[in-house]
Symmetry: C2
Subunit: 314 residues, 2 copies
Amino acid sequence: MIKKIALGVDIGGTNTVYGFIDKQGFIHDHEEIPTNGSLPVTDLLDRLHDAVIHYVGKNKMELTGIGIGAPNGNFLTGMIEDPPNLGWGSVDIIKLFKDRFQCDTFLTNDANAAALGEKYFGIAKEMDDFILITLGTGLGSGIFSGGKLVYGHNGLAGEMGHMSIDSRGRKCQCGSTGCLESYVSATGIKNTINQLIEKNPNDSFLKRINGPIIDGLLLDSEYDNGNPLAQKIYQFTGKKLGHGLAQAAALFNPEAFIFYGGFSNAGSRILDHAKQSMENLLLDNQKNSISLIRTGLQQGKAGILGAASLIWEY
Amino acid sequence: MIKKIALGVDIGGTNTVYGFIDKQGFIHDHEEIPTNGSLPVTDLLDRLHDAVIHYVGKNKMELTGIGIGAPNGNFLTGMIEDPPNLGWGSVDIIKLFKDRFQCDTFLTNDANAAALGEKYFGIAKEMDDFILITLGTGLGSGIFSGGKLVYGHNGLAGEMGHMSIDSRGRKCQCGSTGCLESYVSATGIKNTINQLIEKNPNDSFLKRINGPIIDGLLLDSEYDNGNPLAQKIYQFTGKKLGHGLAQAAALFNPEAFIFYGGFSNAGSRILDHAKQSMENLLLDNQKNSISLIRTGLQQGKAGILGAASLIWEY
């Protein structure tokens, strides 16, 4: 019997992961290839097409459809709009894939894909109202309300990272002020570390951690050892995160916030502070009703699972 | 032919309005009676029941169902939960009405009812993603996303008035800090006026406007005459409102914000400032895409229209 299969594609700034996924969320195989974002998008498309057609033929599978998750991927327009770290400008990725593969293709952004992954195959299977937050270089979010992903009028909903929590706060690279992302993300934590270095220019821990990429393991272990500056970093970050969560909760009344992405590995070091700060700002009738939990999906696989679930959803 | 009719009931702190409304949103008749919130809720129920049964019988109508809008009305539980200005505690209003009237009954809160009214019979007929904001003593909101009202996990969504826009801001009566309502509502404007009086204790305009109820017409006319303090009041209020709108927009990407309620009559005096402040905080891809508009429904009738539309919706 020919097995029906969805192709899940997670396009990242450096690498692209693709996987062959059935309706139950079982990943039959997956592969990681360079995105080569400086070449035209057709370069990626060509390599992907050859590999997929070969695999599907060899394994007697039928490609039901393709789901794609990408930064700035817009579900409604089918466009990847000026993706960061990729030199493609705005591309009509749906048309390109449909023309080449001759099958249904859906696109969404990476945070929405992760949210779909949690809903269909992860920790949120029984949840209709939850918000998935990706903590990485930036802060992204995918919002489920009433069992449906929130896309908004132009497919631009779910930008929790650019919700301003302080009109007198930090300048964000987006041009706005006080965006949650400018506090709660790798970029945000770097801002916080820089502020601490100004006050503590000779601190050896701050010097060590202030590399081009934050050493999360060092930060975590120093926090666990009681280093007051490491504690300050996570306390401050958690407090700001909690403020953002409370605002989103006032609007959505979710059952849970689910955290995904490299920097969510800090776990309770940041979520405990976030919880406390969120609870202080919640209305009485929502207090102690919202869970803060970490992803149930394997890091690196939520993207392809979520992207593939676009096929089973639509 | 017997005409099918929905009863729309808008329970307020002082008065209750009810109306007989058909599927096209035509109000065949409506009436206002005292709520008598200090008496048991059965007093209101008795009076309503007698009047409705009499009217329906006389006019050969069939009561299809009852839709109720009330402060703190919860769609999911059917309870009015500790309504402000009413001595009822928490009451299972759905059960009470169903037992008495023997027909389908739905409940929601007053802001959601107004949003339903706009969607079914007002300015938002063609909109799937919009947020209705009621500006009165407090600030309420009803949110449509993807063509559906957002209720959240426990029916408590849409509390935009208690979204904190400044963690170092005003103490709100809810116990939280920096809630939008503490700036943008009659209560919020009173706070602002009190702050201005501290700095300008002898200003005659501030003295005149500082009564138990804000004289909106005086504030509007002084603003139009160029009174700098009146301008400051609306500028400041509008700026805070714009901050809240930008936050909600980041999450929902709505097509429009629609304003309803007494204090929305200030119109462009406040909305122009709000628009400017919102645009400054929006992400580039949402700039100049969101309308700020005033209700298309007659003041005092959105409540019963929206409540009645619960019947045609479910």
